[in-house]
Amino acid sequence: MNNIIEILDLKKNYSSVEAVKGISLEIHKGEMFALVGPDGAGKTTTIRMLTGLISPDSGKLSLLGKNIKENKNFIQNKIGYLSQKFSLYGDLTIDENIEFFAHIHNIFDYSERRNELLEFTRLTPFRDRLADNLSGGMKQKLALACSLIHRPEILFLDEPTTGVDPVSRRDFWKILSGLIKDGITILMTTPYLDEAERCTRVALMNDGKIIALDTPAEIKKSIGKSILEVVCSPSRKAYKIIKESGDLEVQLFGDRLNIMIENRQENIDEIMNIFNQNEIKISGTRIITPTLENVFIHLINN
């Protein structure tokens, strides 16, 4: 049973909108898997179908080798879910929140596990504080602790780091790596491509479909192109010229241009020529491997 999650041709419509247009996916045990895509790509819908919160219109869904519809109770005891909003009871303390989530997952001997989780998320000093009085990062860690109280085998995270400061985000990722070491499978959705790069495998989603599915490195290699980074001024004018010159893909980051090219010297010479003709000052160039962001924008544009 290497595939802990199997999805086959999953579809879901919201009245007239097709949110998920038939996706197939296999996730292995112990993976840290990311569904990446812009808002409205169908990530949250997919994760909600996987947790059994909504039912798909068609397609097959199995978790831990079992069909989700027929084995809802069995599966729900083995999965943890962290929704976008860090759903906690603001008028209960950290301890009480964890206690409640333990009880509703049939865990009544929870105090040891709770101490362990609080230690792990470094929330022990705040355990008597009301959840409403916690910072965004602490709320997120508490929500994570609540979803881990029953030692789930699969953890579903829906945009877990949205609205959390960078330091807390790093902390959070450390905690996630710890979980992976313990053998938990993690499936997360994220709009941040830098987070996706840290996952073992990534599915890029757009408009209800998976447009790429592989390890981050393979996805980057797959398009067979490089990025020419040019630091120049005036950069805005340079961006316009390249954009209008034809079939080159270009992105502007401040005073830098990222131009996607076939990795050949004549291509670079050609671009340099255009810049010279238009009197654009170039203060540096280098070839970089494309980031997931470059690839993603390239794939969406095609």
């Binding site: 009245s15 729900q76 759903s87 008028d91 009480e96 997952h105």
Partner: protein
């Protein structure tokens, strides 16, 4: 179904409830406040009517008649008037509500064999309701006086017992016709249903709003456990509230429960169940606390106030409105609890009302389930 899981929800709900001091204050202050308001202010009894007298006769008979008026608790003598011209300004300024004018020949006409003694009453008719009640009081006062005089004459003439019918009305169940006693069952109904519908719907919709409902849905808790866990704390609170109002009614307004406490408890429980189902129905329909609150108040407060027979008698409503009154379970509870508290009625007397309540509950339960299935499908 697991009792332990239901317990977890009940404990959590109580913790949240006890921490919300403002809500608790409203929950317990509101009923007592309403009772005070309705008990003391909304009173349909007319008492202490201010009366001025212009006694042109100034005889033993006229003074006797005035005495019979003011010896009852309905009239207070606020003064005598000397001149005709003083009458109008007194009524205009609303110094008094009633003026009695005794004509000069009152006692002489009374003494004659076929004399026509007359009295003039001037009633302030601005408040029509009060004026009508005043009119009834003075009519019966005059009739009593007549009867007394006639007996006096008859005795002088040597005839005994002239009046064939001795009219002595007695009101049962609420002998002194105090409106407060009549209002308290209705007040309890209103408080119970508002507490049940508003708190249950708000507490369920709050979970929707915060997203915690999803965490519960992915756990082992099923819908029935969830609803039971939510209902129990609010049933307790509402019951406590109802008992509080009942005790306040006993202490402040000398209310006495004539019937069986057990039957009252049973009726109240069935009624609360109806209220809670209505609350669940609201939470299924509404997605935000504001919407839920508005619908809950609209469904619970207004009908239980206007259509339940709490203040306005259903029998005097137009037939169509009488049919519409069936939308509130309070109607049946008010009728049943009045029977128990004031009349001491047994199960057989309120059987119909109990059946209605159960039917009502089932109807909304099925409706709530159907809508929630439909909503779930749309997700």
């Amino acid at each position: 179904m697991s009792i332990k899981r239901i317990n977890a929800i009940i404990i959590k709900e109580f913790k949240q409830l006890l921490r919300d001091k403002r809500y608790l204050f409203v929950l317990f202050f509101f009923p007592v406040f309403l009772l005070g308001m309705f008990g003391y202010a909304v009173n349909f009894d007319v008492k202490n009517i201010k009366l001025a007298v212009m006694d042109n006769d100034n005889s033993k008979e006229s003074r006797e008649f005035i005495k019979t008026l003011i010896s009852s608790e309905y009239f207070i003598l606020s003064g005598y008037i000397e001149k005709d011209s003083d009458i109008k300004p007194m009524l205009d300024n609303q110094d008094v509500q009633l003026i009695l004018v005794v004509p000069q020949n009152f006692s002489t006409e009374l003494a004659k064999n076929n004399g026509k003694p007359s009295l003039q009453f001037l009633v302030d008719g601005v408040n029509g309701n009060t004026a009508l009640i005043i009119n009834n009081y003075i009519t019966s006062a005059a009739m009593n006086f007549n009867a007394k005089i006639q007996t006096g004459f008859a005795e002088k003439a040597g005839i005994t017992s002239l009046s064939p019918i001795n009219f002595q009305p007695r009101f049962w169940f609420n002998p002194s016709l105090e409106t407060t006693k009549y209002l308290i069952p209705g007040l309890i109904a209103m408080i119970l249903i508002v507490t049940a519908v508003v708190s249950v719907s708000l507490s369920l919709v709050r979970e929707k709003e915060r997203g915690t409902i999803e965490q519960i849905k992915v756990s082992s808790v099923n819908t029935i456990e969830m609803l039971l866990g939510k209902a129990v704390p609010y049933v307790c609170i509402a019951m406590l509230n109802g008992i509080l109002v009942l005790i306040a009614g006993m202490l402040l307004f000398n209310l006495e429960i004539q019937g069986s406490y057990l039957l009252l408890l049973l009726t109240t429980s069935i009624f609360l169940l109806a209220g809670i189902i209505l609350g669940i129905f609201v939470s299924v329909v509404a997605d935000s606390q504001q919407v839920a609150f508005t619908i809950a108040v609209f469904l619970s407060f207004l009908p239980s106030f206007i259509l339940s027979g709490f203040v306005f008698p259903i029998d005097s409503m137009p037939p169509i409105i009488q049919i519409i009154t069936n939308i509130t379970p309070a109607k049946f509870f008010v009728a049943a609890s009045r029977s128990i508290i004031l009349k001491g009625a047994g199960v057989s007397a309120i059987y119909d009302q109990l059946m209605y309540l159960i039917l009502y509950t089932l109807f909304f339960l099925i409706l709530a389930v159907l809508i929630s299935i439909k909503k779930e499908k749309e997700l």
